[in-house]
Symmetry: D2
Subunit: 229 residues, 4 copies
């Protein structure tokens, strides 16, 4: 059974919901984000350990996992949530911002998955979950960089699901199709549940985590009842 989780990109509302739910289920939680100050409140609330790391940098990912090893022991659940995006017409995009989008959204996912897999292969089990978006499966206009990053992350998740599942590591990709609810973005009063409640998303992550290996899911999508798709 899973005992130790690392949530990367832990500054988001979804990450907070996941962290709370995991702790409630008796799982030790480590949080990582580029800016550790974003994690102060959550980590003290739930008693989680938090780490600063830019996971698009190989050496920082290595350091992060070593630190987690030392503080919590080897992780058997890793959730990759970071993403970055820049929107705009193709001709107006800043190439540096596009590179950053690919780096944070996809390349960091590779680095984290690799570090996670090294530990999980030794332990003989584990779970690596990736958070995708509508843009993972549909390239929207005026949003080429995010499409590139999220398509790439999905390609990674699919490739390593095929590679690692037979080694008892559960790789899953979650297509979050819609806006996630937050204090800054509550549901309009006349449109209840028109955004994704992060607690509801977290519940599905937990269900997938609890699946026996005879019936594993690689991909699942989640959207509000009123979302067009």
């Amino acid at each position: 059974m899973p005992t130790t989780a690392l949530i990367v990109g832990a500054g988001s509302g979804l990450s907070a919901s996941l962290a709370r739910l995991f702790v409630k289920e008796g799982i030790s939680v480590a949080l990582a984000a580029r800016q550790i100050e974003k994690l102060t409140q959550l980590s003290s609330e739930i008693g989680a350990v938090s780490f600063a790391a830019d996971v698009s940098k190989p050496d920082q990912v290595q350091q992060l996992f070593n630190d987690v090893d030392n503080k919590l022991g080897s992780v058997n659940i890793v959730v990759y949530n970071p993403s970055y995006r820049v929107r705009g017409h193709l001709v107006d995009l800043d190439p540096i911002e596009v590179a950053k989008t690919l780096s944070i959204t996809a390349y960091g996912g590779f680095l984290v998955a690799q570090a996670a897999a090294k530990r999980m292969l030794q332990q003989g089990n584990g779970a690596i979950f990736f958070t995708g978006a509508s843009a993972s499966v549909k390239g929207y206009p005026q949003s080429a960089p995010f499409a590139m990053g999220k398509f790439a992350l999905r390609g990674l998740a699919q490739s390593i699901a095929r590679e690692l599942a037979p080694k008892n590591i559960h790789v899953a990709h979650f297509v979050i199709d819609g806006a996630i609810r937050s204090a800054l973005r509550p549901d309009p009063a006349d449109k209840p549940d028109s955004t994704l409640d992060p607690d509801a998303i977290a519940q599905t992550y937990l269900s997938i985590l609890r699946q026996p290996r005879s019936a594993w899911t690689w991909e699942v999508e989640l959207r509000p009842w009123v979302e067009h798709f």
Copy 2:
């Protein structure tokens, strides 16, 4: 909360697992199959009501739902499991068998979904779940009829998910990618968990059923950890 389930195609191992799990969760269960004698043991075991119906026939579907209305009240969960297949080279296939495949695998799904939706729209909520297969998303050679039937069922599920979700009816499609375990088909001793445990599948159906409407899944696939895909 869901209170009353109708499981169609209830003679299968997956249906039995679903029925047992639903009853355990406090849901009243009705079972339907073409041959009611297949249901005797299960219905007495779990205290379910069972009905004989060929759900590829409009009048029998109408009768079935009326009977369920009378015995259990309006259903708020319907699971469609029936399928039929004939395999063989395209040129060797019997056209009557191909028509039967389409009729049971897909047309019956339409009839059942229509009858279910009539009730659920009145109640203002409900869930309609369809059981798909690898063949729902990949047309295998020497298996054109099953590809036709399962692709059609998926088209139905996707169309009515878009239509009914905003009316508070949760439509979901499950892609079962692999063989389902049974007494007749146990796992090989050297390949543990290489077939899908029907209880494990049922657990994911229940998780999807429990999803709050702010984060609904339309489609999810399930396969054993060692299955190629």
Copy 3:
């Protein structure tokens, strides 16, 4: 090289464009439709032979192919264009109309493909082309029957492409994503080329037909430059 084509569902504008283009390329053309009177003008214009057939009936398909054998010799190109649809809310659909949609849109495709394959396997080559729609890959609300029929046809096309390609029979599926231009439905003056010109579609069918077998296409989509997708 292809010499003899059978176009099924020949009453449509796309079929007329295909027939004219094939004849121009030196291919003998047979036309089939439920109502032969729809074919009078076209067949006399291009010197094609025309046949009445309801291709959702096994015996009529057999008769059609025997008649074509006798009049033109064995076909090496067959194009399946028929479709039928009924739209409406799920709960309002007439089950008989839904059955008819499946029968004409998908089951007839199976019957025609089977009869075609019997001849092409003997000849050692051939091409079987299916005309799909947006509904082949996306199930639209209020249009469940068409989604069922077109998804099923795509499943058929994919299954038999895998089965027949290695036997030197080229199976292809065309996703026509948009309205087809016609005398009754010309382009709005301010939106040039906003509907698909059937001659342009036919040109792509011909290009796919001319592909050497070292680089065959199974599926291609076509849409107007301004179409949303």
Copy 4:
């Protein structure tokens, strides 16, 4: 009508076939590759201008397009062919090689598309074609980097197809599913046409290029008749 083509990643056999076919069709051709010496023979054979450029570098892409502007005038066809891959188990991959794969396979595609679009939007027309692979739509095990790069390129192509098509720029993505024939990799004698003839692929690129805008293709796949898929 297209008059001036730039083929990027011009050292490959497919690029050579495209260049020869374009020239034969009266189109002026510019070739670009990281190592210009790879282009000497081809450019002198067909009278093409060739340029050295590492298209994963923004400044080199800008220089390349300026040079092409000066020598040939504004391009109205750009084909992006470069790719790079490293294979291996996830845990054994060199992060630097993975970054290089993303950079050449996907990021360069963005840079080239952006420079091309700037010119084409001014001219009011153009075509941007991307060469994909099986890995564009399926993430294979032991090949995560290539899946990431090719998925990302497909996301780019889909996003900008939606953005640029209504501005009269035809964006297309070609899924090459199989090995491409070459002097080094001829077909086995007993398996004729079991690899993709680059001339045959080029022919389909040309057909797509010739499509009237009322019936444009965004994506097409190509594979040998005997290829499994």
